[in-house]
């Protein structure tokens, strides 16, 4: 009897130690990756990066302005397409569809789309927006990103709108407001913070995407704001520079990765903080 208890206590200790070590391992990898990013990124970071565009390896006056501007254009355009579409679809689910079969079906579909391989979405957009035009273009890149954004915004909007108390809607309706006005002026206002957080998180998510851009917006070594033409993005530039054999390009790649990570992780943390505050 005593032996058995001893064994149980020992096994318990071993397993709990292993579980703790797992957590330490996870944190260690996070720390390692962040350290590598900061170490290489800060070293490579200087004002040239924001002033100059990409240049052949060996040039001193070489920077990331083209990629930063291109990235901003791609993300902003994707946001302009994805946010209204996701927001309105989410509004349907929460305000009209509710728990109907169709609404749940759409929720399921968007859950699947949220996890779909991004490179497949890139291939899809290539077939409909790049191949027919004959050349890579910025619009296609934005559309690919928007397709990834819609399900995220749809789900958060749906969740956030359903948190708005029913009594608010009833009160507004009792005053004679039509349903669309109740939604636009009362429900949206009540869920504003949550919706904005969802938008922030979805922007953070798509900003780090590379695969769907590889063959939609492609990349551009030069400064360009023409969305009908290939356009540079931070992520594809990182890919091109990091896989190149030139030390100075690799360095620029690290600088770009550092800037991207600052943006993505920063936005993510801010979003989480807002959600946490609301839950209290």
């Amino acid at each position: 009897m005593k032996e058995a208890t001893k064994k149980r206590v020992l096994v318990n200790k071993i397993v709990l130690t292993l579980a703790t070590l797992s957590a330490v391992a996870g944190l260690m990898f996070l720390g390692w990756i962040l350290f590598v990013l900061a170490y290489n990124g800060i070293e490579a970071l200087n004002s040239n990066i924001f002033i100059y565009d990409g240049a052949p390896p060996g040039y001193k006056e070489s920077g990331l302005r083209h990629a930063l501007v291109g990235q901003a254009m791609l993300v902003v355009t994707a946001t302009l397409i994805g946010v209204p579409a996701g927001l309105l679809a989410g509004t349907y689910l929460s305000e009209y569809g509710q728990n109907s079969k169709f609404a749940n079906f759409i929720r399921d579909i968007s859950d699947i789309m949220m996890s779909a391989p991004s490179i497949v979405i890139g291939a899809f957009v290539y077939a409909i927006l790049v191949a027919p035009v004959g050349h890579f273009n910025g619009w296609a890149g934005s559309c690919a990103l928007a397709i990834m954004m819609i399900p995220i915004i749809l789900r958060t909007t749906d969740d956030m709108l359903s948190l708005v108390p029913q009594t608010l809607r009833e009160a507004a309706a009792a005053l004679g407001a039509p349903k669309y006005k109740v939604i636009l002026q009362v429900v949206y206002r009540g869920a504003k913070t949550g919706i904005i957080t969802g938008i922030l998180l979805s922007i953070a998510r798509i900003a780090g995407e590379t695969a769907p851009l590889l063959f939609t917006s492609f990349s551009n070594s030069f400064f360009s704001t023409d969305m009908n033409q290939p356009i540079a993005s931070l992520t594809v530039t990182i890919y091109n520079y990091a896989t190149s054999p030139y030390a100075d390009w690799q360095k620029l790649g690290w600088a770009a990765a550092f800037i991207l990570a600052l943006f993505v992780l920063g936005t993510n943390i801010i979003g989480r903080l807002i959600i946490k505050q609301r839950k209290r």
Binding site: Y96, A123, Y239
Partner: protein
């Protein structure tokens, strides 16, 4: 007047809800259409054919499919126990003041863009494996390990949530009988959270199989069945990422779409299974 505005708004939001379905159907249709020439040319043998020779217009998807499956399998073997360990730590061991920071940090692993995993894998992780196993350091094993780190947070977070749904009274009853923490975890919490744990593992598998950039950096991109796990290989997403922009013949282009279609079908089935069969309960609870 009031009714017209209401009707317009309702139709507008309904249209956007339906558009999600339209996009999904469009993805399937377009992938299938573009893959059609390759499907006609190679049929289902495409899946088992080992030869990928664009210059001869011979395309077999087996090396890419093999690479996807093996790298994902390695990732699952490594990630599952560690992630469940993390979940156990977060839900049962961690002192209260550590729960939130450790949990958030682990979840941040999921927020790091995959291209950054790729860079880290190529410049820092692959050289270590090269020193240990020889070769180039690029290949299935490296890809599997990098993937495992990326999917840790998915399994850990969902498993933790599922574990947290265990009623306290069950745990307390077991403790009162003299059970150790591990007894409680093994006999009460894990059986209770089983559906969520399995669901999270399958969901992570779906993510891993479609992951592109991190793997593209460290896979080596060789269209052959590797002799060892440390040899360079390829996978479906890696092949797409590397060759899509340079596919110069119609059949080449179509063969890539065939691969994309296979990848989409696999991930669709896997994610669907995880979400609708296993994660229903967890989703409702959280």
């Amino acid at each position: 007047m009031k009714n017209i505005a209401d009707m317009i708004f309702k139709n507008l939001v309904t249209f956007f809800a339906i558009s999600v379905l339209i996009i999904l159907v469009a993805i399937f249709t377009v992938l299938f259409n573009e893959a059609k020439p390759a499907i006609d040319a190679f049929g289902f043998d495409f899946i088992t054919n080992e030869k990928w020779a664009p210059n001869l217009e011979i395309f077999g998807g087996y090396p890419a499919i093999y690479g996807s499956i093996v790298s994902t399998f390695i990732a699952m073997i490594i990630a599952t126990p560690i992630a469940i360990g993390i979940a156990i730590f977060l839900s049962e061991i961690s002192p209260q003041f550590l729960k939130s920071p450790v949990g958030t940090s682990i979840e941040l692993l999921a927020a790091i863009p995959s291209i950054i995993y790729g860079m880290w894998g190529l410049f820092y992780f692959a050289p270590i494996l090269r020193d240990i196993f020889g070769g180039t350091g690029l290949g299935l094993l490296t890809a599997g390990i990098v993937l495992s780190i990326m999917i840790l947070p998915f399994i850990a977070a969902i498993t933790r949530d599922a574990m947290n749904t265990t009623p306290d009274i069950l745990k307390e009853s077991a403790y009162a009988l003299g059970a150790t923490k591990w007894d409680v975890i093994k006999n009460i919490i894990i059986p209770y959270a089983k559906a969520g744990v399995i669901g999270s593992i399958i969901l992570a598998l779906g993510r891993a199989i479609g992951e592109t950039m991190a793997v593209t950096f460290v896979m080596g991109n060789v269209h052959k069945i590797p002799k060892q796990l440390t040899d360079p290989a390829t996978s479906i997403p890696v092949t797409l990422a590397n060759e899509f922009a340079e596919a110069d013949t119609d059949l080449y282009y179509s063969a890539l779409f065939y691969l994309a279609l296979i990848l989409f079908l696999i991930s669709f089935v896997v994610i669907g299974l995880a979400k609708f069969y296993f994660l229903r309960k967890v989703r409702k609870a959280s």
